[in-house]
Symmetry: C2
Subunit: 324 residues, 2 copies
C-alpha cells in the first residue's frame, strides 16, 4: 500500500502532465490556473487509496482521480462567483483575474473535462462509475443551493444543516472512495461500505471544522478564530444556539446576528459566551463523534484484512483532531 503522501505526489505529477487544448486560451487558461493553485489533493488521493486498498493498480485510477479534482475545482470556480470571493487559497479567483463570463464558461468546460477523464475506466465498470459520479455531482449542486438558501434563513434546523453538509461536502469524499473501490475491483457491498465511511467521515470532519472555528487553537490550525461568527455563517454551533435560544426566549444572540456595525472581537467573545452558556460545543462534539463512529463501523464491515483497513483508519485519524 502506498502512503498518502505518495498518492498525493502521483496526483501532482498527473496534474503536471494533464494537457488541455491551447485554443481558445480564454477558456482553458483559467482551468490550468485554478488547478495550479494548490490544495491538498486529498479527494483524488482518496480515489487512488481506495483502488490500492483492494489490490487494484493505482495507475488505472489516476485519470478518474483527476476527474474528481477537476470536478471539485469546477465547483470552487462557480462557488467563488456566487460568493463574490476575491481570493481562493490566497490567489485571485478566476472571475477576479479574468471576468465573470470566463469563470462561468471555463467552469462549464471543466465539468465536461471531468466527464471525459472519468470515462477512462474499463468498459465493465463504466456505467457504475459514471452513475456514482453523476449522483455525486447532483448532490454537490443541491448542497450548494441549500447552503445559499441558508444565508437568509435564521430558522434552519440541525437536520437541514446536516443534510446540507452531507451533500455539499461529504458525498464527494464518499463518491471518490467508491469510484476508487470499483476501479480496484471490489464488489458493490464493499464499495458501498467505503462510500458510507467517506460520507460519514466527511460530515464529522465538517462538524469538527465548525467547532475549530470557535474553539481551535489559532496557532495550531492557522485560522482566525471566530471567522464563522463574524460572518454569521450557519454552522452547527450557530444553528443549535439559535434553536436553544429560541426555546429560552433569549434575544441577545439574534441581536448579534442581525447587528450591522459591530466590533469583531467583541462579537466573537459575546457569541462564544452564549455558545458556552448553551453548551452547543458538547452538542456538536456528540454529533461529530456519532458520525465518526458510523464511519468506522462502515469500515469494519468491509471484507479486507485489518492491515489494509488500518490505512484508512490512519487517514481518518489524521483528519479528526483529538486535541484542539
Amino acid at each position: 500500500m502506498k502512503k498518502l503522501s505518495e498518492l498525493q505526489e502521483i496526483i501532482i505529477d498527473a496534474l503536471g502532465q494533464y494537457k488541455l487544448p491551447a485554443h481558445p486560451n480564454e477558456l482553458y487558461e483559467p482551468i490550468t490556473y485554478i488547478l495550479s493553485i494548490g490544495g491538498k489533493r486529498l479527494r483524488p488521493a482518496l480515489v487512488l487509496m481506495a483502488c490500492d486498498m483492494f489490490g487494484g493498480r493505482v495507475e488505472d485510477a489516476v485519470q478518474p482521480a483527476l476527474a474528481i479534482e477537476v470536478f471539485h475545482n469546477f465547483t470552487l470556480m462557480h462557488d467563488d462567483i456566487m460568493d463574490k470571493a476575491p481570493l481562493r487559497r490566497g490567489k485571485a479567483t478566476v472571475h477576479e483575474k479574468w471576468n465573470q463570463n470566463i469563470a462561468i464558461l471555463s467552469g462549464d468546460a471543466m465539468m465536461v473535462e471531468a466527464n471525459k477523464l472519468m470515462m477512462q475506466v474499463d468498459d465493465k465498470i463504466l456505467r457504475p462509475v459514471l452513475d456514482i459520479f453523476n449522483k455525486t455531482a447532483q448532490g454537490v449542486c443541491e448542497g450548494q443551493q441549500l447552503d445559499m438558501n441558508f444565508e437568509d434563513d435564521n430558522k434552519v434546523s440541525i437536520e437541514e444543516y446536516l443534510e446540507m453538509i452531507r451533500l455539499k461536502t461529504a458525498v464527494l469524499l464518499g463518491g471518490a472512495l467508491k469510484i476508487g473501490a470499483l476501479i480496484g475491483g471490489t464488489d458493490a457491498a464493499n464499495a458501498q461500505n467505503l462510500y458510507d465511511f467517506g460520507v460519514n467521515l466527511g460530515i464529522a470532519f465538517q462538524l469538527q471544522d465548525d467547532i475549530l472555528d470557535v474553539y481551535g487553537d489559532p496557532q495550531k490550525f492557522g485560522k482566525q478564530v471566530g471567522g464563522d461568527i463574524i460572518s454569521n455563517k450557519k454552522t452547527f454551533l450557530l444553528i443549535k444556539a439559535l434553536e436553544l435560544a429560541r426555546q429560552a426566549n433569549a434575544g441577545e444572540l439574534t441581536e448579534w446576528v442581525s447587528a450591522i456595525d459591530f466590533d469583531k472581537a467583541e462579537k466573537v467573545a459575546a457569541v462564544t459566551a452564549i455558545y458556552n452558556e448553551l453548551q452547543v460545543r458538547s452538542y456538536a462534539e456528540t454529533a461529530m463523534n456519532s458520525y465518526a463512529e458510523v464511519a468506522f463501523k462502515a469500515l469494519d464491515s468491509i471484507s479486507l484484512p485489518e492491515d489494509r483497513k488500518q490505512y484508512l483508519r490512519d487517514f481518518a485519524d489524521s483528519l479528526m483532531v483529538r486535541d484542539y
Copy 2:
C-alpha cells in the same frame, strides 16, 4: 418513418413526463421553467429521426434526445447570463426571474441531468455515445468562448467565424444525429456521414440566418430586419464587408460600427447599402450553398435506401429557404 411533427410531439410528451426532484426547488424549478418555454425541439427530434431512419426503436432514443434538449437549454441559461439577456423566447430569463446565482447553479445541475439522461442507452453503445456527447459539449463551450472573444475584435477572419459557428451551433446538430444513428444500430461510417451532414447543414443554416437578418422578408420570417446590423453582431456579412472595406480603404463601415449615437433605421439602410456595394450577400450565399452541398454529399454517402434518406433531405429543404 415518423414525420418530423410526430417526433416533435414525442419530445413534448416526454418533457411533460420528465420528473425532477422537488427539493431544493430553487435548483430545479428554473430547469422546469426554461424547458417549458418552448422552442421547436428540433435538436432532440433529430436524435429520434436518425434512430428511426436506421430502423431503431424511437422509444430507445427518447431519453438521449431529452439529454440533448436539456444540454441545449443549459447552454442557453448560461449564455443568457453572459449576454445579460432579459428575455428568452419572450419570457424572462432565469437570472432575471430568479437571480444570477440560481441561473449559474441550475445550469450546472442541468449539465448533470443531461449526462444522466444520455446514459440511458444500451451498454454496448454507452461509451461511443458519451464520447460524442462530451466532444459536442466541449465544442459548444469553445464556440461560445470564441463568440464572446469576437465581440471586441474587429479583425475576425471569415475562417475564424466559420469555425465559431461550427462549434457554437453546428456540432450539436451533428452530435444529435450521430447519437441517434448509433442508437438506431448503424455502423460508425454511416454515423459519421450523418454527423458531417448535420454539421455542414448547421453551418449553412447559420449563414442563411445571417443573410435573412438583412435581406429576409420581415413578414415571412417574423424578425426585425437589421437587428444584427444595429448590434454590430459579427456575422458573415459584417466580417466579409470589414475585410473588403479594409482592402478598399473605406472608412464609412467602421464609422458605423463604432458609432454610439445613431438612428437605427439610418444605420441599417447605410450598412445595407455598403453590403450591397461590396456584394457580401453573394459571398455569403456562395459559402452557404457550398456547406449545404457538402451536407448533401455526406447524406449521399450513407448506405440506406433513397426513400429513407429523402426524409432528411426534406428536413434540410424545410430549413433552407429558397425564396427570401
